[in-house]
């Protein structure tokens, strides 16, 4: 068995300086509060779990540095969603055409939808409807999907526009087209 020199291999660890303690607390609180929400948002945007993990980590790293600059973030959640969405859209753009592996979010959602019991007919109808809706959501463009999910997160058009770096009318356009496309796919 090959044994490597531990001195050579040990990761470089640099302790964070003491002045960062205050921001670290806020950071930890933000992490605890928003970590799973950010991850879910990434998965709903269509990322596989490995990519979602990477972007999740990158987003919180950025938050860490943002807080270190002693900047007051009015809404960490909004900030996180904005950064996450942008990173996810960049990733999807860069990996266009890459084959997604494993279960899609739609399938996962459907699994849970179908596990809820109720009577058989309801189950079948509900499952079928959920399947169609999930499929319809999956077929949206990344920008449309981002608009729908950010709107569902409670963001206003102006906030979505700022997050995506587009105008409000573009957001309206994305949402209108997304709704029309979902409707068409559900028919």
């Amino acid at each position: 068995m090959q044994r490597a020199d531990s001195q050579f291999l040990l990761p470089l660890l640099i302790a964070a300086d003491a002045s960062a303690e205050a921001s670290t607390d806020v950071f930890e609180l933000s992490y605890r509060e928003h970590s799973s929400g950010v991850f879910r948002h990434l998965v709903l945007l269509g990322l596989d779990s490995a990519a979602a993990e990477d972007i999740h980590q990158e987003t919180f790293l950025r938050l860490h540095f943002e807080l270190k600059k002693e900047r007051q973030l009015q809404s960490p959640r909004w900030w996180l969603l904005k950064v996450t969405t942008n990173l996810a859209l960049n990733y999807l753009r860069d990996n266009k055409g890459r084959k997604e592996l494993g279960g899609t979010p739609a399938q996962d959602i459907l699994d849970r939808a179908c596990s809820r019991g109720a009577d058989a007919e309801q189950l079948v109808l509900g499952a079928e409807r959920a399947r169609s809706l999930s499929r319809a959501l999956d077929q949206l463009s990344p920008q449309q999907k981002a608009c729908v999910h950010l709107r569902a997160e409670g963001m206003r058009y102006a906030e979505i526009a700022e997050a995506l770096g587009v105008s409000i009318s573009t957001v309206e356009e994305y949402l209108t087209r997304a709704i029309a496309r979902i409707r068409m796919n559900l028919k």
């Binding site: 040990l10 470089l12 058989a120």
Partner: protein, 571 residues
């Protein structure tokens, strides 16, 4: 036409629905637009419901908080440039000065060879910084140039930090062995064929030069054919990391270039089973040859042995779940005899599939896992089996019995039959549906038997979640099958004189379903001694009680954590 008289377009309607801008007065008086608005509300409610009610379960990102803290400590904070006027002026002047300096001195010459190597060494150490147990996969392109020929190969190197366990995957074994010998003889590290730290140590006995991101060293020692005469290390300008190395010997030159790098946390799944490869036994090799596998990814791990005393069962278990899930997602578990087992620190997949396309599909699914080198695959196809058997088997098809089915006699003799039931399509449908669901049942049982409660509880959250998801999918398929069977046989049940008793949920749903499967075969596939009336009655009752049992919300949750007592081993 005023805005009150025309209908709202979709964008206006959506804006109104979202509370953006003023509420349109038109909506107050127009039924059509209000109906469209309600339809839109229903759609958005459904989307929200799907997200909120059926959101994915929380997947814990493994140790992510600790990892982010560590990464934050290592990564330099981004600096906001030119934030003030003074800074802008300073930047412009600095840039001008830099331009002038660049014209005179090339930046590559600003540091000495030793400085460059030190910087490169630091960059190298940062690869897995902040990850307590990292798994590093590097891909290399290796080229050997001699006066006679040029030989090239590509291979992967897997290394676990900080334990230093290491192995290579793929590539030309002879060429690899040759370069590794050269590296060892010159006190360089075969596990780091491109390393500034090793280079620095070796270069103690050499004269070094640095120019434009390339460090060159000429040995001052005299040695044999395996001793390096010179070496070159090329650094990446962006971060000083070494990316290629040239080893020059008296009779040949090796060029090694890094073509890929992946760093992952080693948990989960933890794969510490990186023992050195032993030669497979002749018997094993013969078996593999007989399987006629063009894609021999099984050779990657076939001989790996978990180091004695190592306790990494949980992590190998997690890998096993990943493999089950990959096979499940590829649709390979239903109706096949594939088996997955944890052996020798890796996971072994064995069994038979219908054809080579199917096997190739499965191999792709398994390769897509990050941990594929720890997965050994021994899947044969039916074609292979037939070839091995020497195609001796003759036509095994049996004559189809033409005698009427008992159920047919029952239906034809029933006085209340007004619309005669067409028995052949019905029997075909029933048998197809029940056989398909039997595949789900057996796959489900196999999973439950493979992961008893004690083992299930030891798994990391992601693995448990994957198992739950697979189990739920099978249960859902069985539920749908029950509904279909009830609907399809409704005309048959109508022939029974007595009313059906009120159903009670079956206590042993999986075993009951298996009995139902046998009953359906007996009644619809024509067992000679089946009493059709009793058979149909029993089917009706079982379907009702199973319908109740499979609608039980607790059933999926009880699958792995509190096993259903009557579970038997899968067939």
């Amino acid at each position: 036409m005023s805005y009150l008289d025309r209908h709202l377009n979709d964008q206006e309607l959506l804006r109104s629905h979202d509370g953006e801008g003023k509420r349109m007065a038109h909506l107050e008086r127009c039924w059509t637009c209000r109906a469209r608005l309600r339809e839109l509300e229903n759609l958005t409610r459904e989307i929200v419901h799907l997200r909120e009610e059926h959101l994915l379960p929380n997947i814990q990102v493994t140790d992510s908080f600790a990892r982010i803290r560590m990464a934050a400590a290592v990564r330099p904070a981004p600096r906001r440039l030119l934030s003030s006027t003074v800074a802008r002026v300073a930047a412009v002047s600095g840039f001008a000065a830099l331009l002038a300096l660049t014209a005179v001195i090339w930046p590559g010459r600003l540091v000495s060879a030793n400085d460059a190597l030190r910087r490169s060494e630091q960059a190298e150490q940062r690869i897995a910084a902040g990850i307590p147990r990292a798994l590093v996969r590097q891909t290399f392109h290796l080229r050997r140039v001699t006066s006679v020929d040029v030989r090239e190969t590509s291979y992967e190197s897997w290394l676990e930090w900080p334990s230093g366990r290491w192995r290579t995957v793929g590539g030309d074994p002879q060429l690899l062995s040759e370069v590794q010998t050269v590296l060892r003889e010159n006190q360089l590290r075969p596990e780091f064929p491109i390393s500034a730290a090793s280079f620095l140590r070796w270069a103690n006995n050499a004269t070094t030069e640095y120019d434009s991101w390339v460090v060159t060293a000429h040995s001052t020692l005299r040695g044999g054919a395996g001793t390096l005469v010179a070496a070159e290390l090329r650094l990446r300008p962006a971060d000083w990391r070494p990316v290629s190395q040239k080893l020059i010997l008296s009779s040949r030159t090796f060029e090694i270039r890094e073509t890929g790098l992946l760093v992952r946390a080693a948990s989960p799944p933890d794969l510490l089973a990186m023992a050195p490869e032993a030669s497979p036994s002749p018997v094993v090799s013969a078996i593999k040859r007989s399987l006629l596998m063009p894609d021999r990814i099984e050779t990657r791990l076939a001989a790996t042995v978990l180091a004695p005393g190592a306790k990494h069962e949980v992590d190998v278990n997690a890998l096993e779940v990943e493999v089950w899930n990959a096979l499940h997602r590829a649709g390979a578990l239903k109706g096949s005899d594939l088996a997955v087992s944890a052996e020798g620190g890796g996971v072994v997949v064995t069994g038979t599939v219908a054809n080579r396309e199917k096997r190739s599909h499965l191999l792709d699914a398994l390769r897509s896992l990050d941990w594929s080198p720890w997965i050994s695959v021994q899947i044969e196809t039916l074609e292979d089996v037939r070839q091995v058997a020497g195609a001796a088997s003759s036509d095994t098809r049996q004559a189809i019995r033409a005698t009427p089915l008992p159920i047919e006699q029952f239906l034809s003799s029933s006085p209340s039959t007004k619309d005669k039931v067409s028995i052949v399509p019905l029997a075909n449908l029933v048998i197809t549906v029940t056989d398909n669901s039997a595949h789900d049942l057996f796959a489900l049982r196999r999973l439950v038997a493979r992961f008893p409660e004690q083992r299930y509880r030891l798994l990391p959250p992601r693995s448990r979640w994957l198992l739950d998801a697979m189990g739920l999918e099978h249960i859902q398929n069985i539920r749908l099958a029950i509904v279909r069977l009830q609907a399809a046989q409704h005309p048959v049940f109508a022939q029974l004189a007595d009313a059906s008793p009120s159903p009670s949920a079956s206590e042993q749903p999986l075993e009951e379903f298996e009995l139902l499967h046998s009953l359906l075969h007996a009644v619809y596939a024509g067992a000679a001694d089946t009493a059709p009336v009793e058979g149909v009655r029993a089917i009706r009752e079982r379907l009702q009680s199973l319908g109740e049992a499979f609608a039980d919300e607790e059933l999926p949750a009880r699958l792995f954590t509190s096993r259903i007592p009557t579970l038997r081993s899968p067939r």
